[in-house]
Amino acid sequence: MRTLLLVILLAVLSPAHGGELDISGSLELQARTFWHDPQWVDPDDQALQGTVVSTTEIRWYNEEGKQRAVFIPYLRWDATDDERSLADLREAYWAFEGDDYELLVGANTVFWGVTESLHLVDIINQTDFAGDIDGEDKLGQPMLSLMLQRDWGEISAFVMPYFRERTFSGKDGRFRPPLPVDSERVLYESSDKENHVDLALRYSHYIGDIDVGLNVFSGTSREPRLIPSADGESLLPVYDQINQFGVDVQYTRDAWLWKLEAIARDGVTHSFFAAVGGFEYTMYQVAESSADIGLLLEYQYDGRNEFEPVTIADSDVFVGTRLALNDIQDTAVLAGFSYDVDTGETFVNIEAERRFGEDWFGEFRVRAFSGAGPGDTTWWLQQDDYVQLSLSRHF
């Protein structure tokens, strides 16, 4: 990892190359308020959680545009929970692009998938769960990747020599199980532990109105099982070896987007199938205004047994709406509601955002859980309803 970094820095800083250097970034202030007392004994009882996030993006391109080097350090400092503080390289890579191929070495973030309520097939990057419980914050993944572009689609191969552990809130933080997760004592199925070489292959193309992606992954599961430690004081993450086949399809017709993601996984104790699918329909310029309203409906199914890592998306219906004002400030509101058909657990998520002036961006979030009984998967989050305000300055 360090050697890679050095290579990239040298490439960026080498004055002989010429080319173009572009530096940008953002500084974000985040405040969260929880209106219930913490469910477990340790979490800090303060109602306010303050966080500062700094992201810097350094991009270099050589003169012909064939080579680029990208370096994106991400720093997060949390006033309440040390485990939520993080220093990460979201991206730190060098890439060479030919007419119909690209070779990339270093840490990168790669997204696969089409659905909105769950990103089932997206498996390359580890989730920064301490950063955000929505699973959309990711950690940079060290890799060697080769992409080939052909008339019949794009093929990408990934060799991943180093594993990133999932981040969890610490004992002082919210969104944690009854026992805190001990990130110092991590267990692996493979004797190579975090140095196990993971492999992945992806094919992606479109034919007319249909976009398709197929992928296979073999290596260390990004989802850990959490098992109680021998002393009974914490939970230990266990990362098993898995093989997974995934498919994502989107059919785009008029204002309708029909989406499906499915995986078949050879997991810890058995092979199972999981899928999420539904639609997004947008009404444009409602009531002769500039605003669009999108309606989303998705169903999540997961056939895993109790020996696999726990998922909350096992038989859930998601309904959502997206309001975009299409104004100068890009004002948008997203509201979603998830309902577990088997257990009656519900999750409400509201996100509103807009720009202020040219360089400031504000975001407001509300998240609330309810309906879980003891033993249900969201039981340990029941007291963690919160409101978050964040303000970012981009430069």
Binding site: S24, S26, F111, Q149, Q250, T252, A287, D292, E358
Partner: protein
């Protein structure tokens, strides 16, 4: 807001659109010929790259600026649309956001949006022809490449326009989901370039006026460098101020595939 009412408004719009989508008039070829002559002054540009500023102005005169880059690949065949890539540089919070379009003539375009925060490429619906493009007075249909065969043409007459004389054409969209009943365009008789366009909404009322100016000639290829769109109903305005074009930069089909979006930067 009343959702039922909004749904009804949408249905009424669909009905109007089916009226606007009338068969091509065959008795008037003069309008088409003038439009075709203008369109064909552009043939052979190959590909182009240009940086521009988009200045949005509301009725109170408040301004907001966006910087973007537009990369275009010519498809010389008039029955196939051009391919284009629009990449945003500012506002900073959307830096790197990119829209890839494979324009079609009458079928909906194929479009993908790249969202840099998630590094996600999302196929989007292109049926939103009449919606505002990034909060501007330009609709998606104004912004994507104007293809000759997307319209039916009627010759109206000739009028002086500045130092030049212009042919006036009425053009009606042949594609679905247009926000316009008709457009009236002014094409000069010297260089055969479009100088001005009036856009009439679905009711037939004047909605917007586009002035195209600062034409420069790049070895026979003309390009306007200031496009000013004024909405006469809301008094909002959007100006596009183009930098110098670069032509024949050696771009190929592979630079306009969806997978390329995540490798742009």
């Amino acid at each position: 807001m009343n959702l039922k009412k909004e749904t009804f408004a949408l249905l009424a719009g669909v009905l109007l659109m089916s009226v606007a989508h009338a068969p091509k008039a065959s008795d008037d070829t003069q309008g088409f010929d003038i439009a075709a002559r203008s369109d064909r002054t552009d043939v052979g540009f190959g590909d182009s790259v240009v940086e521009l500023q988009m200045v949005l102005r509301n009725a109170a005169g408040q301004e907001s600026t966006r910087a973007l880059r537009i990369v275009t690949l010519e498809k010389p065949d008039e029955t196939v649309g051009d391919k284009s890539l629009v990449v945003f540089e500012t506002p900073r919070d959307i830096e790197g956001t990119a829209l890839l379009s494979h324009a079609k003539i009458l079928d909906p375009d194929d479009q993908w949006l790249y969202l840099p925060a998630l590094k996600r490429v999302k196929r989007i619906s292109s049926s939103n022809k009449s919606g505002p493009f990034v909060g501007s007075e330009f609709a998606f249909e104004d912004f994507t490449a104007i293809e000759l065969n997307k319209f039916d043409y009627t010759y109206v007459g000739e009028v002086p326009c500045g130092d030049l004389t212009c042919d006036v054409l009425e053009r009606t969209p042949r594609y679905e989901n247009s926000g316009y009943k008709k457009q009236v365009s002014w094409v000069d008789q010297t260089d055969f370039q479009i100088r001005k366009v009036e856009f009439y909404d679905r009711r037939g009322d004047l909605l917007k006026v586009l002035d195209m100016g600062d034409y420069r000639n790049y070895d026979g290829i003309w390009r306007a460098h200031t496009l000013s769109m004024s909405n006469v109903q809301t008094n909002k305005q959007t100006d596009l101020i183009y930098g110098d074009y670069t032509f024949n930069t050696g771009l190929a089909e592979n630079d306009f595939v969806k997978g390329r979006l995540s490798r742009l930067r």
